[in-house]
């Protein structure tokens, strides 16, 4: 929407808030994802025309759903198109003449669980979720993941074909499967968030559009799966981490570490909401990985200054996290926290114990963390080598500039001594 008119704003708003709702309700009529997408796009196009003439309806989502479903029913009757497409399996039969009903909250869950089905490749799950649940265009999804539009279009088409050919059901999983399937959905949303929070490559540190989408998705899940503590944990994690957004880069565009950030500019409202959610998320025994990760973010948010951070508590939380979610990255973060709790020598010992871990061999933060501890221990030559190693693995321009700065400072002091 290029112009700033109220109509354009209303359409953009309805696109962001209602897309999943309208599409999910329409899929139940078409039993075909591509056809449903067409009908929904058509409904948004009609809205632009119709709302301009007759005003914006009280419930844009219901209006769009009715129009998209009507379009789907028209095509259904002409049915030539439907006959050649593979039907999606539905767990409850839908009568084509039925009027739109508003039990559709569940339909969004059906859509999400279909997009995040474990039989789809993780990269396809993320792409489908952004495309079908968030309503992003293929070129937007392609840009978000730094692949060509052709590659992304092929990835999405392949995933849709698998849904149809293997008959991945359009259904909310049974109670028995629900926890594992919900975890898969949360992983997708978390990946969207982390990709936005620190872009793996490119000029900008943060891809705000992706962060916003992740927040939208987490809020949607929170409203649909209110009893799930890990959903609360993920929403808390996103809120508490993103609360630092304004302070992560200086006015000159340089990376600012946690220690250097102006905490008075952290988003107090997001932190308050996040802390409340963390309390709720931790009530599950044992607490899940997102609850614990969010709890760590909350400890940072609660510290008045970097020096006053409760590092012991953070190490203890990482210990718990390592039990429910053993991963080399968790071990690395734990080692870094020990470095702040017990000094750089202790941190370095922990990091060096991880050096043999193959999954960390190309992980840029291992080199960066080692470099920082070595620098603080005055072991400049080794620190320089570690910064150089981290630089080789870092593709984000803002992160690269930070590492290059640190390296240059060490080289300058080495030069002045020598």
């Amino acid at each position: 929407m290029a112009d700033g008119s109220p109509l354009a704003a209303a359409i953009a708003d309805a696109h962001r808030r209602e897309w999943a709702f309208v599409l999910a309700a329409t899929v139940r009529v078409t039993r075909d994802l591509d056809l449903a997408e067409e009908c929904v796009q058509d409904a948004y196009a009609r809205a632009l025309e119709h709302w301009g003439r007759s005003g914006i309806p009280a419930s844009p989502g219901a209006w769009l759903t009715t129009v998209a479903r009507r379009r789907a029913l028209d095509l259904h009757r002409r049915s030539a198109r439907l006959a050649r497409s593979l039907p999606l399996l539905l767990d409850d039969p839908y009568e084509p003449d039925e009027e739109p009903v508003h039990e559709v909250a569940d339909d969004r869950l059906r859509l999400i669980f279909t997009c995040c089905h474990p039989a789809l490749a993780p990269s396809a799950q993320v792409a489908l979720t952004l495309r079908l649940v968030c309503g992003l265009s293929t070129s937007e999804v392609a840009r978000a993941f730094l692949v060509s539009e052709t590659t992304m279009a092929a990835r999405i088409t392949r995933a849709k074909k698998k849904i149809a050919a293997a008959r991945i059901p359009y259904r909310v999983p049974s109670a028995k499967e629900l926890p594992a399937r919900t975890d898969a959905v949360l992983s997708v949303v978390h990946l969207v968030f982390t990709t936005g929070h620190t872009a793996p490559a490119g000029e900008r540190l943060v891809r705000q559009d992706l962060v916003e989408r992740a927040l939208d998705l987490a809020r949607m899940l929170r409203s649909l799966l209110a009893a799930d503590r890990e959903v609360a944990g993920l929403l808390a994690l996103i809120l508490l981490t993103d609360a630092r957004r304004a302070t992560r880069v200086s006015a000159e565009g340089e990376l600012l570490l946690l220690a250097e950030q102006d905490r008075s500019r952290w988003d107090g409202e997001a932190i308050a909401e996040g802390r409340e959610l963390v309390r709720e998320a931790l009530r599950r025994r044992p607490p899940g990985r997102f609850a614990l990760t969010a709890a760590i973010a909350a400890v940072h948010a609660e510290a008045a200054s970097f020096e006053e951070t409760a590092w012991r508590e953070i190490v203890a939380l990482y210990d718990l996290l390592g039990e429910v979610w053993p991963s080399p990255v968790v071990a690395l973060n734990r080692a870094a926290a020990i470095g702040f709790a017990d000094g750089p020598a202790a941190g370095l010992r922990e990091l060096d114990a991880l050096a043999a871990e193959p999954r960390l061999a190309t992980y840029r933060y291992l080199g960066a963390a080692r470099a920082d501890f070595l620098r603080r221990l005055g072991r400049s030559a080794e620190a320089r080598a570690a910064y150089q190693e981290a630089l080789l693995l870092t593709e984000n321009a803002v992160e690269r500039a930070f590492l290059a700065d640190r390296l240059e400072a060490l080289e300058r002091s080495a030069g002045s001594r020598g």
Binding site: L89, R167, P169, R171
Partner: protein, 115 residues
């Protein structure tokens, strides 16, 4: 309903090393699987080891060449299959998870229907 083929991949060497008791136990596990899922199973067989396999493919000159051994050499080789009927992939996966496998796993493939 749709048809799916469940392909069973297992470590052949381990199966051959197995003693009689554990071989019997595996056979018994398959019988139990068959009894529990009889309504869904429409076929299935165990295959002889890949040592008995013969592959036929076109060579560089475009001629059909017959060679000894499986089409692809892998540690976990195709050792058997079930043909099942299921409403959707979730149901097929639920059945496939019950297939007795020692060290490997199974692959679920929808059967293609031509109309």
């Amino acid at each position: 309903m749709a048809s799916y083929l469940i392909l069973i991949y297992d470590d052949e060497a381990a199966l051959e090393r197995a003693d009689q008791a554990s071989a019997r136990a595996l056979l018994e596990a398959h019988r139990e699987f068959g009894a529990a899922n009889g309504a869904a199973i429409s076929g299935g067989n165990a295959l002889r080891s890949t040592e008995s396999a013969t592959s036929i493919r076109r060579d560089a000159a475009g001629e059909l060449a017959v060679t000894d051994g499986p089409f692809i050499e892998t540690k976990e080789a195709l050792g058997g299959y079930y043909l099942i009927e299921a409403a959707d992939l979730d149901e097929a996966i639920a059945i496939a998870k019950q297939v007795p496998v020692r060290a490997g796993g199974v692959e679920v493939r929808p059967i293609r229907v031509f109309d």
